[in-house]
């Protein structure tokens, strides 16, 4: 038990999840604000944000291995990834509220950029699709159900990336559960 207590992971995982959520939110919406009508900006923002959304599990396991020096078991990597992903999802959703304080509707900003992309892309099916999505975004708001579902999905995906991180990053010794 001693090595586990010497290197607690909940705090580290929570901090990594929160910091990466802040980074993802600033990266996504910052890029869209800086380059509002640019396909390059939209692609960069979406790819960067998706990357940052799946990276917490990898980063958290990497830091845990580095800090402890042990190769961690897959189950522990999964737990680290799940906790990090959960915290990430909650903070990322909370950031939408912070953006709203500055009169920035994060959802509309993203959909506005997607609409520009669709207009430029010139797909007729996409135009009507975008109208539906904009109407849906206008009628909907923050929902607890949505937050819970989103947290579960991002948590589960980071559980998998946490396991991948465990497989890729190895310490000098093996810590058995």
């Amino acid at each position: 038990m001693e090595p586990r207590e010497a290197h607690p992971f909940f705090e580290t995982s929570a901090i990594i999840g929160a910091v990466m959520a802040l980074a993802a939110s600033f990266f996504l919406y910052g890029t869209l604000l800086l380059f509002p009508e640019s396909i390059g900006g939209l692609l960069l923002a979406c790819l960067g944000c998706c990357g940052l959304m799946l990276a917490p599990g990898l980063v958290a396991t990497r830091l845990q291995v580095k800090k402890s020096g042990y190769t961690i078991e897959l189950g522990r990597g999964a737990l680290i990834g799940f906790v990090t992903g959960l915290v990430f999802a909650v903070v990322f959703s909370f950031m939408d509220v912070i953006w709203a304080l500055f009169s920035i509707n994060a959802n509309e900003l993203l959909l506005g950029s997607l609409e520009y992309f669709v207009r430029e892309y010139g797909d007729p099916d996409a135009a009507s699709d975008m109208e539906d999505m904009m109407a849906e975004a206008g009628s909907g708001g923050f929902s607890i159900g949505g937050l819970i579902m989103s947290s579960i999905v991002i948590g589960l995906l980071n559980l998998i990336t946490g396991m991948i991180g465990t497989a890729v990053f190895k310490g000098e010794e093996t810590l058995e559960l």
């Binding site: 897959l74 996409a126 949505g146 989103s150 995906l157």
Partner: protein
Amino acid sequence: MRSKPDSVFYMLAAVSGIIVLLASGFVFVDAPLLHSLTREAFRDLCHQFSFRSFSGDGSHMAVCARCFGIYSGFFASAAGGLLVWKRITLTLRTSLLLTALAVFINIADVGGNLLGFWTNTLGSRFFAGLFAGISLILIIFTAGKHHSN
């Protein structure tokens, strides 16, 4: 090498199965609340364009065909890996190379379509995603096979 898979691999198969189910948006049942909740769940992970998603009974999945392919790949690989556990001889290096190849195929598929070299289809997006999902789970299997007992 372990002769039997750890319980964590059964959990991996279950988790990836749940993700596939959620990503499907439950289009096979008439439940509007489930449709909207699952769409909300994947809102930050996928563009969710309906013309790029599989549909059933008039409603569309919560994610696009490529994302659904990735999640299906997770499940196919996790469940398939359990069935052929003893035959898995992949090394970490090989599985990382496969993942790099899968990423390259997806970038080429998206890039070629954007630049007008070809028009990709729901099927091509799904299979490109499927390959990526499978290769990612194979990385985990290499660790499970080679961890000390």
